[in-house]
Subunit: 289 residues, 2 copies
């Protein structure tokens, strides 16, 4: 496995691969502090592609002024170990100057899909995501890019950018990985105190309750599911709900129960703070006929 | 020369070319109604590239609600004749549904460079330009793209997008072509009445006066040049000035005369209406030491 820090070295390496090979180039963009969820993306890329490129870059553009950019967890040494074990061929680790050598004046932004959920809670976040992912796609020029569905809104936003801008890359959404007790894997889980970690289980439990409810009730409304999930989360004293929303997926628009049979999928999405740590989770359910 | 209407056909054609050739793919994006200026871009591309792709697409996204999208001049038959004579290999002529199959929710936008000149007069114009050029770059994936410097702000904006988003394409700015009497070539010149056409000569004359003035005076200010140009244009009774601006190039920022020797170039840019027809022209002058 090679570790590459400069854009020009990475481009030369990928160009040279493409000259000799017809196989696909797979790309897994991350902010590092890799966990089993990231490893599952790399393994999927390894199965499908001839060359697997992982990027590790904590992108300042997608953090708000009062968010956790400075304290976002980093561990390059362990990341390289995880990356190699999961089958990465190249790890691209640019520093901030390499990615933003001067003031960036260009933004890629998506309307509609970003009005709700994390887009509403974190103004500018998805512009930062769409912009850095566009940069990385132009640098790596992958055939396929792999994203985890824990960040379902991110996947929807990136798919929209790719469609709208005709980017020549296939987005491959991959399922959320969970700890044995159900907590969705996240680099931010490391922030949790022991008690917060214990109480954070309400998130996956609440989503499970919603799934059971949908399976038991042919007719349900977004409001019913929302109430069910919110109440269960509120049973954890350390939980502060940022949002719980039940929307059509992947349009991320509200729906009326009477149109449910016209939908293909719904998403139950939540963001909840435990102390200073904001966790997200979601469940995407096929519905309708 | 091939005429291609669909994105997938164009991609297949270019992929097949790349598989067999190591030469560069050159791209000239236009809105059609080709004149000698466009032809000069195609000839430049022909000199430098193995495959020359011209696109003709009148992009609704870059026209304001009261602008001339509907009446923008079109003549596909003549365009194909000009394109072939100038050396195009492929003409890509998508219809609007092909470029915008659904509601587009993604925008590529540039701040700073778009605050002045046409960016100020035509709100949203450069977002529309940056977005459609990004789409076309992703569709064609050219090595080089050729743009005329009559639209100097457009060239600066696109270069900024390419730099900021790490797009793997080289922007090649090409000089403005002029009619024998000095009028900058433009698809919109066809709108001019005989009298407007005659009076429109003040534009290139005013820029010539400014150039003479700069060459005769070691010290000059932006205000002096602005006044000189504005006064000459005002001598044409049918001319209504939209803007005359003297800025640093390519940053498009105002400058103070005392810093002139620190600048590499200045631009004297103007937009002037004759009746309903808005014409632009500019002069880029190397200055400083």
């Amino acid at each position: 496995m090679e570790v590459i820090h400069s854009i020009s070295d990475l481009r030369a390496r990928i160009r040279s691969y493409r000259r000799k090979n017809d196989q696909a180039v797979g790309f897994v963009p991350t902010m590092g502090f890799l966990h089993e969820g990231h490893a599952s993306l790399l393994r999927k890329a390894r199965e499908q592609c001839g060359l697997v490129v992982l990027s590790i870059f904590v992108n300042p553009l997608q953090f708000g002024p009062n968010e956790d950019f400075e304290r976002y967890p980093r561990n390059a040494e362990r990341d390289l170990y995880v990356a190699e074990a999961a089958g990465a061929d190249i790890v691209f680790m640019p520093d901030i100057k390499e990615m933003y050598p001067g003031q960036i004046r260009t933004a890629v932004s998506v309307t509609g899909l970003t009005d709700r959920l994390c887009g509403a809670s974190r103004p500018g976040h998805f512009d930062g995501v769409a912009t850095v992912v566009s940069k990385l796609f132009h640098i790596v020029q992958p055939d396929q890019a792999f994203f985890g569905l824990k960040d379902a809104q991110q996947v929807a936003v990136i798919q929209q950018v790719v469609n709208d801008l005709n980017m020549p890359v296939e987005i491959v959404p991959c399922p959320t990985l969970r700890e044995p007790d159900g907590l969705a894997m996240s680099s931010r889980n490391v922030y949790l105190s022991e008690e917060e970690r214990r109480q954070a289980l309400v998130l996956s439990q609440a989503l499970q309750k919603a799934e059971d409810y949908v399976q038991a009730n042919a007719n349900f409304t977004a409001a019913q599911l929302n109430q069910l999930v919110s109440r269960h989360i509120a049973s954890a004293p350390l939980a502060t709900i940022d949002y719980v929303e039940v929307l059509e997926y992947p349009t991320l628009q509200p729906f009326e129960s009477s149109y449910l049979s016209d939908l293909s999928s719904i998403i139950i999405a939540l963001a909840v703070k435990f102390g200073n740590t904001r966790l997200i989770d979601n469940l995407i359910l096929p519905v309708g006929k």
